[in-house]
């Protein structure tokens, strides 16, 4: 697995993929995201047997560090069998309220306590003219046997303590409304 982190600019993915090609590495999966000005990319690539990860890292650093980009190369841990995902249901937690210290920590602590796995988290809106309208969206897979009433109650209590307006909704409602 190769991680790239740094200030966004044109040509980052092109440079990484060129270096991987030069080292005869095959990209098997890739994802990138940009948060404000910062780029991060994760590449999963198979590398030739004779190529040592350290040598690949050196090659990538030589190509990318002039652009101020940081590189991490790490062998993927494989157990032989793909992990079996536990049965879960997708929910969406949305919070609206003033930005404050401990907001994400407070909400995610409750999600973790109930065994929820956050599959996506983002700040959807940073308040604009009204800093009290800061909006966070957490997509969460919850175990099927979760106590929904208790989960909802715990989230609501935490949200109230953080002065947030919180919604917890099954993901299907968003798909039903917006997708054909």
């Amino acid at each position: 697995m190769i991680s790239i982190l740094g200030t966004d600019r044109p040509g980052i993915v092109a440079t990484v993929s060129r270096i991987l090609l030069e080292n005869r590495c095959n990209i098997e999966d890739v994802s990138q995201t940009i948060l404000q000005t910062e780029f991060t990319g994760i590449f999963i690539a198979s590398i030739p047997e004779q190529l040592q990860p350290e040598n690949l890292l050196t090659g990538l650093q030589r190509g990318l560090e002039p652009f101020g980009l940081h590189v991490l190369v790490k062998p993927l841990e494989t157990t032989g069998k793909p992990p079996v995902p536990s049965a879960s249901e997708p929910f969406v937690v949305t919070t609206v309220g003033p930005d404050r210290l401990g907001l994400v920590a407070g909400i995610t602590e409750v999600i973790a306590r109930f065994g929820g796995n956050i599959t996506n988290l983002r700040a959807a809106f940073r308040g604009g003219d009204d800093p009290k309208r800061n909006t966070m969206i957490y997509e969460v897979d919850t175990p099927v046997d979760i106590d929904h009433k208790a989960f909802r109650q715990a989230l609501r209590e935490r949200a109230a303590a953080l002065e947030l307006d919180l919604s917890l909704q099954h993901r299907d409602i968003f798909e039903a409304i917006h997708r054909v």
Binding site: T94, Q169, H170, I173, F174, A176, I177, H178
Partner: protein, 457 residues
């Protein structure tokens, strides 16, 4: 991954625009409860309703919580009592209405519909008994709703039934004079009544329907209004064709919500899902009004010239969006214009923009009819019958549902206010152009034959 817009616009629809599921209505057939013995019949309908609907409210609330969409009303519609209770006299039918009322109370639903008769082509003995029972049944019960279908495109108009219903309305109003004739708010007279309406007061379970079924009524006038406002703010040059498209897309979204919730409630209750009825049904809350949509589309008020055209556009766009969203669209599906239940329409009546005649014209293109219209208390049974006849004629000729829910408010005159409370709202009484001019026509009785439109086979 969901997009930010998908999440945020859904939240906006819920929190600021009053998107909700207006009603989940459990239809229950009572035909297998039939008995010649009144006590036995009442016992059996109570047992059947409380058995099937025991978990209705809890399940609706749980499903509403899961999706974050409130299910505002949970209701029950039963087989027409004139059919299920065919052997009984009007006095016995009043007792049966009490049992329905108690059953509704026991399972915590606010209305139970189906104190009904279908008489478009003629009466059975029990139809006449039920119509006779209506004034007492509605004045002595709290949650029972009645409907009578007096006309259809296939059968024509049963004018004897129309006259009887004019008299029933008058009697029901007089029996509830202390509450401005409230019993009439629970009574609808129909042409072409659908068998699967989830909305009250017209809901009943048709005889062609399953033994039990979930029908869902979704609303959302506030959502439609805001969608129009947002689009016009972003682009003031939008023309009506483009605005109709926006209404259609919004109707699609709202219908999908109803179907999702309805199917899940039906699955949990282990009964089939019937239909989603997308009707823009207002409540007396600001921002939950059909009348406001007229203003968003450029009219000073509902009722001014142009209103019928706007309503035609609105009703059609809502139907098109609903039809694309679900293959199980039914009920009334369109736009309601209930005067007292919509703060904006009620205000239009108060300010004189909305006359009975303009309302009647608009019902030729809306999804129901003259709905929650408060009339002067001295309006005669014959005049009420003539208004009903006009209204059902529109439905019969246009092959659509029309209905009249009229309240002749005892002791009050045009311009005064009638107060019904809660979702039923309040309304200024509007005048009726009457100088005793309809009596002779109404008393002719008989049946206005089915129109040529009925010859479709």
């Amino acid at each position: 991954m969901l997009s930010d817009r998908e999440v945020l616009s859904t939240l906006e629809m819920l929190k600021d625009e009053h998107l909700d599921v207006r009603t989940v209505t459990l239809g229950i057939s009572l035909l297998d409860c039939a008995s010649h013995d009144e006590d036995r019949f009442r016992e059996q309908i109570h047992a059947k309703i409380s058995g099937l609907a025991r978990d209705l409210v809890r399940i609706c609330d749980d499903v509403g919580d899961k999706y974050g969409i409130p299910v505002v009303n949970k209701r029950i519609a039963v087989s027409p009592i004139a059919v299920a209770g065919a052997p009984f006299s009007s006095g016995q039918l009043v007792n049966i209405a009490h049992t329905l009322d108690m059953s509704a109370k026991d399972v915590s639903v606010d209305f139970i519909g189906g104190f009904s008769a279908l008489v478009e082509k003629g009466f059975t003995k029990s139809d006449l008994a039920l119509i006779e029972a209506i004034p007492e049944a509605l004045s002595k019960t709290e949650r029972v709703c009645a409907s009578v279908n007096v006309a259809s495109t296939r059968a024509g108009i049963n004018m004897d039934a129309v006259y009887l219903m004019g008299r029933a309305m008058k009697a029901a109003a007089d029996r509830t004079a202390q509450s401005d004739g409230l019993a009439c708010a629970k009574l609808c007279v129909f042409a072409n009544i659908p068998q699967d309406i989830p909305f009250m007061a017209g809901a009943y379970l048709g005889v062609g329907e399953p033994g039990a079924v979930i029908n869902v009524g979704v609303s959302g006038p506030g959502v439609v209004r805001r969608a129009i406002d947002r689009a016009r703010d972003a682009d003031p040059t939008l023309a009506l064709g483009q605005l109709a498209e926006i209404i259609k897309r919004t109707a699609f979204k709202v219908t999908r919500v109803g179907e999702l919730i309805g199917r899940e409630v039906a699955a949990l209750l282990d009964v089939p899902f019937g239909v989603a009825d997308l009707s823009l049904a207002p409540t007396p809350n600001v921002g939950d009004s059909v009348g406001e949509i007229f203003q968003s589309l450029g009219l000073a008020s509902i009722g001014v010239p142009g209103s019928t055209a706007v309503l035609a556009l609105l009703n059609d766009a809502v139907k098109k969006g609903g039809a694309f969203a679900s293959s199980s669209v039914g009920g009334l599906s369109g736009a309601f214009i209930p005067v007292s239940e919509d703060i904006n329409i009620s205000e239009a009546a108060r300010r004189g923009f909305l006359s009975l005649e303009k309302l009647e014209a608009m019902t030729s293109v809306c999804s129901v009819g003259l709905d929650m219209v408060a009339l002067p208390g001295n309006t005669s049974a014959e005049t009420l019958a003539a208004i009903i006849a006009d209204e059902v004629a529109i439905g019969v000729i246009n092959r659509k549902t029309t209905a009249a829910r009229l309240i002749p408010v005892p002791g009050k005159k045009a311009g005064e206010k009638a107060y019904f409370g809660g979702l039923l709202g309040e309304a200024t009484i509007i005048s009726v152009q009457t100088r005793g001019g309809s009596e002779n026509f109404v008393r002719l009785g008989g049946r206005i034959p089915a129109p040529v439109q009925s010859l479709v086979n």
